[in-house]
């Protein structure tokens, strides 16, 4: 049976309900259980009963003891009452006596307190009187802080009683000493050997002495300036030293100048700015901050100038330069945190930018020099090399001028990209990135070099003395290579390496600010055209010279019957053959018009000769040639040269033949003179057609030469074509 406390079924609980309990027992238990339970309860009752009897017996004894004690106490209280009465009486007596004493002593007390007051005052006066000597002692000991403390302590009193003669003297003495102290402290300010801490201390003391803040600021800054100037001078000396490592220089700058400057700024802030702002002296705070600003700016600008000067003078590896600039930038940034009134990082950016510009310019100069060297080498070997038919030479020279140069530019692009390395602190500046990428690298370096290349190539045409003609051909090819692939390749390279397109949002803008590939390529093309024209002109003129001399020096009026082709014609053909093979090394064959067959060539030639032979007189031949010209298409003799072997050689031949024509027109011929020309021309006819794009052109020019000679002949009788052929074949 579970029984909870407070349960009415709990037989030991307070709330026990006998009736409910019995009912419950009767309800829940069978007879045997009830009888057992009854017996249990009965036993419990009996044991409880005996317990109660024991308790009552024990407590009875205690009651008897308590009654005895109370009886004893009744007797003691009677004597205590008597003692209390006698005490009361004696207390009254004491009170009376004390009153008597107090009244008798009252008169003396005032006097005593007066005396003790006088005593303390005297002690203080003694301090004041000894003050000058104390101060002096302290001053000599060098304990300036104590001096100031003592002085300030006494000052209030002294100023209060300053009108009294005796104190006036003391005050004067003290002031004198303090003035001396001030002098010493000021001298500290001017002393350049003093450490920062001592200086700060001195300034603090001076401040406590109520010196004018602003003039102190000035003194302080003046002193700091001296120190900084010293460091600056040291740096300035380093500028001259070319062997100095750049990183070392920057480190030296930050270790000496910058850390000093930081110290100055920090102590200035501590001493003046904070003190003043604490005292709510806004105006003075502002003035002192202004002073600091001017000071810092002056010095920083000097420093930046020196650094700029150093960087401008010293050439170094780009990697080292970038590292040095990186450190420099970080340092200045750190100062910016300390000194927030002006941001010097902008100036540093300028320095970095100018360093980058200078570096690209140096590279450009080197590149130009490299190109010039290569060109000079080629030129040198052209002069020394007599035989140009050495196959490798032309392609090798070309490679040294194109792919080598391109490789070199690649290297430079890689080198300069160190400026934009994300690890470098200043590389995050977008404007700087843009300036370096777009303005310096792309436009100045790459585009600048390409422009230089074309203009240098062009400039060779006015070079005196004239370089070997083949050089022009090599340079022509070089320009063409750049036009076709080099320009595009380089621009693509730079655009990719430097992410040029990032800086330009639309295509449209792109074209306006960047030099385009098309533009550069066309520049190259026009340089190539210029050079090839010049080559043709030079070669043409040199062959012309041969022809001219040969016509001018001969007495055509008294010629003998021709037996052979004149030697000069053979030389001309040889020369043209060699030029043609040179050109062939570098240039493609090019387009030709269809050739007539050998036999038709022969008949054409014979037809002309027959026409003249039968006609006989000058007027007839003139009419003939006029009619001939009428029916043949007008051929532009001096059409522009194209970049092919045929076109170049054709150009040279045209100039040469035109020269021959002009020379012939200046002379007068006898019959055999004319026939000699006829033989020569036939010889040229036999050999020159193979070099030209359109053989009709050669025919036309040769016809004109012959017709002009006929015209200038006193007795124009031509030779039998078969005889001419025999002479020519004989050699």
């Amino acid at each position: 049976m579970d029984i909870k406390p407070g349960d009415p079924y709990d037989i030991d609980g307070a709330c026990f309900n006998a009736e409910m309990y019995v009912k419950k027992v009767l309800k829940e238990s069978n007879l045997k259980q009830v009888i057992d339970h009854e017996r249990e309860i009965h036993q419990d009752i009996q044991s409880l009963h005996s317990d109660m009897q024991t308790l009552v017996y024990e407590n009875y004894n205690k009651f008897i003891l308590a009654t005895d004690t109370i009886g004893k106490m009744k007797n003691d209280f009677k004597s205590l009452e008597e003692d209390m009465e006698s005490l009361l009486f004696k207390m009254d007596e004491i009170t009376n006596t004390s009153e008597i004493i107090t009244s008798s002593l009252h008169a003396n007390r005032d006097e005593i307190s007066k005396l003790s007051e006088t005593h303390t005052l005297l002690k203080r006066l003694e301090f004041v009187y000894t003050l000058p000597t104390t101060l002096n002692k302290l001053l000599i000991k060098g304990d300036y802080a104590q001096v100031v403390q003592e002085y300030l302590h006494a000052q209030r009193v002294l100023t209060q009683y300053g009108n009294q003669e005796s104190l006036k003297g003391i005050l004067n003495d003290c002031n004198k000493i303090v003035n001396e102290l001030k002098k010493i402290l000021y001298s500290h300010l001017r002393d350049k050997d003093i450490t920062g801490k001592e200086l700060t201390k001195s300034v603090n003391l001076l401040l406590q002495l109520d010196e004018p803040v602003l003039s102190l600021c000035k003194e302080f800054l003046l002193h700091s300036k001296k120190c900084l100037l010293e460091s600056l001078n040291v740096l300035q000396l380093q500028v001259e030293d070319i062997n100095q490592d750049m990183i070392e220089f920057i480190d030296l700058g930050s270790d000496t100048f910058l850390s000093q400057l930081c110290l100055v700024i920090a102590s200035f802030n501590d001493m003046f700015v904070e003190n003043l702002s604490k005292n709510d002296e806004n105006e003075e705070t502002e003035i002192s901050i202004n002073q600091l600003n001017v000071f810092v700016e002056d010095n920083m600008i000097r420093y930046l100038e020196i650094v700029q000067c150093y960087i401008d003078r010293n050439t170094s590896d780009t990697a080292i330069l970038v590292r040095a600039l990186d450190r420099f930038y970080r340092k200045i940034q750190a100062i910016g945190k300390l000194f927030s009134y002006k941001d010097f990082t902008l100036n540093v950016m300028e320095i970095i930018s100018s360093a980058a510009r200078r570096q690209t310019k140096l590279h450009l100069d080197m590149l130009k020099a490299h190109f010039h060297d290569k060109l000079a080498t080629v030129r040198q070997s052209l002069v020394s090399l007599q035989k140009l038919n050495d196959n490798g030479f032309a392609t090798e020279s070309l490679a040294s001028l194109t792919s080598d140069v391109i490789e070199k530019i690649k290297g430079i692009l890689q080198d300069i990209s160190a400026f934009l390395d994300p690890k470098v602190s200043f590389s995050t500046n977008n404007a700087l990135r843009k300036t370096i990428s777009v303005d310096y690298v792309r436009e100045s370096l790459v585009v600048g070099f390409l422009h230089y290349l074309s203009s240098a190539a062009r400039s060779y045409t006015i070079c005196i003395p004239c370089p070997p003609a083949f050089l022009f051909l090599i340079m022509t090819k070089m320009c063409l290579e750049f036009q076709i692939s080099g320009v595009g390749h380089l621009l693509k390279l730079v655009d990719e390496t430097y992410e040029i397109n990032k800086y330009f949002e639309t295509k449209n803008k792109n074209s306006s600010q960047l030099s385009s590939e098309v533009e550069l390529a066309s520049d190259m093309h026009s340089a190539a055209q210029h050079l090839v024209n010049y080559y043709v002109r030079v070669e043409g003129l040199s062959i012309s010279q041969m022809l001219k001399k040969s016509v001018e020096t001969r007495d055509w009026l008294h010629s003998l019957e021709p037996r052979t082709v004149r030697a000069v014609m053979k030389r001309v053909v040889e020369e043209i053959t060699s030029v043609d093979s040179q050109v062939g090394e570098l240039f493609e064959e090019g387009l030709r018009t269809d050739r007539s067959s050998d036999s038709s060539r022969r008949t054409q030639m014979s037809r002309h000769i027959r026409a003249w032979s039968t006609g006989g007189t000058a007027t007839n031949t003139q009419t003939f040639s006029a009619i001939n010209r009428l029916f043949s298409e007008r051929i532009d003799i001096f059409s522009p040269v194209q970049f092919s072997r045929v076109s170049i050689t054709t150009g040279i031949i045209k100039i040469s033949l035109k020269t021959l024509l002009e020379c012939v027109r200046l002379r007068t011929f006898n019959r055999y003179g004319l026939q000699q020309v006829q033989v020569d021309i036939h010889y040229l006819q036999l050999y020159l057609w193979r070099f030209v794009s359109d053989e009709n052109l050669v025919h036309l020019l040769l016809d004109e030469i012959l017709s002009s000679s006929v015209h200038r002949c006193l007795n124009p009788v031509l030779m039998e074509p078969s005889v001419v052929e025999i002479i020519c074949e004989r050699g």
Binding site: I462, C466, R537, L541, S544, Q545, K548, L557, A618, R629, R634, I637, F638, I655, K658, T659, L661, E662, R665, T668, H711, R712, C713, L714
Partner: protein
């Protein structure tokens, strides 16, 4: 002057013989007149054509004079007398040796009146040119082989005033010669091979100044800037025309290679000296405008600074079908340039209207 002559539509006059000599009739300042000398091996065929531009009808009207003593290699007209001309000529009959003579143009067609045949035999056989002194009627000068001979024709008889000889290796010869119009003295300037030499004829053989080796091939012609002291131009077989300040003979002011073959003739415009006419055996005649080195640049600083940009060819005449050997500006209308090609075609071109305006304004 009629405006119908445009550069793209030149007036044409044809001579039936070949010709390589042309000169403007310098003394005639009212009408545009040009003289042409023909070249024919048949001695008696040769003529001098005086071509006049008729303003009213805008046509060219010729007067033809017989020159039956030989083919004409060069021609010059007197700067003061409309009727006096000189020719240098050769004839088969005299073994193609060249001679020179002073002629008077008759009133009407007919034979030229021979005034003087100069006694050149003892100086050589190749007479290049005989020129009139720009101011003094009496003085003339001939260039023969390697000799300069100065004549005085003031009296009835011709007198030799002085001579100068070019000596050197390899038998040097003069190409042409001209009085220096910029010099008040008797200074005669010659071209030989690649050199220009100025001879002071008062002291016989003294060379006043020279431009040596200034072309890579022979110098064909040269001319003096009529309005700017010390400035001159040369041209030659290397196809270059070069412009000089003779005080600096090392470096030309400008060097141009506009032609593709020899340049035979070069002339400053007598009034607007920024205009230069050149003729070449590539068959082209060019008018080039060189503002920077013109006399107007001296007065106007602005022009000087922008000069090099504005140097350009302002007119190309390609209507000749043969080599062009001569150009001459008209003495009357300075905008007209005459050119003569070997086939005997004379063209009168005019400076384009807009270029005229640009120069005048």
């Amino acid at each position: 002057m009629s405006n119908n002559i445009m550069s793209n539509n030149p007036l044409i006059y044809g001579v039936e013989f070949q010709a390589r000599s042309l000169c403007s009739l310098h003394a005639e300042s009212d009408q545009d007149c040009f003289l042409i000398g023909t070249q024919s091996l048949i001695t008696s065929n040769n003529q001098v054509h005086l071509v006049k531009l008729q303003e009213e009808t805008n046509t060219l009207c010729p007067q033809i004079y017989e020159h039956s003593c030989g083919e004409i290699w060069s021609l010059a007209s007197s700067p003061t007398d409309k009727c006096l001309i000189t020719t240098c000529y050769a004839s088969i009959e005299r073994d193609c040796e060249k001679f020179t003579a002073l002629w008077r143009l008759p009133e009407n067609d007919g034979h030229l009146e021979n005034v003087i045949t100069f006694p050149t035999e003892k100086y050589g056989t190749d007479v290049k040119v005989t020129t009139f002194h720009p101011t003094n009627d009496a003085y003339m000068c001939s260039v023969i082989d390697n000799n300069i001979v100065m004549w005085d024709v003031g009296e009835s008889e011709v007198k030799i005033v002085c001579t100068a000889v070019l000596d050197g290796k390899g038998q040097p010869r003069f190409t042409t010669g001209k009085w220096n119009p910029q010099s008040a003295n008797l200074q005669f300037v010659t071209a030989d091979d690649c050199n220009i030499k100025a001879w002071d004829l008062r002291t016989q053989t003294k060379i006043a100044w020279s431009l040596d080796g200034v072309h890579t091939q022979i110098i064909r012609d040269f001319d003096f800037n009529p309005n700017r002291q010390y400035y001159m131009a040369t041209c030659g077989d290397d196809g270059y025309s070069k412009f000089w300040d003779i005080r600096n003979p090392r470096q030309p002011l400008i060097s141009r290679a506009d032609h593709s073959h020899w340049i035979w003739s070069l002339r400053y415009n007598p009034v607007h000296d920024e205009l230069i006419g050149t003729a070449s055996s590539d068959g082209q005649v060019l008018i080039t405008c060189l503002t920077g080195i013109s006399s107007s640049a001296v007065e106007n600083e602005d022009i000087k600074t922008k000069s090099s940009i504005e140097d350009k060819i302002i007119a190309t005449c390609d209507q000749h079908e043969d080599s062009v050997y001569c150009v001459e500006w008209s003495s009357a209308d300075s905008w007209i340039l005459a050119s003569l090609s070997y086939d005997g075609r004379l063209l009168l071109n005019k400076v384009p209207k807009d270029e005229q305006l640009r120069i005048l304004l």
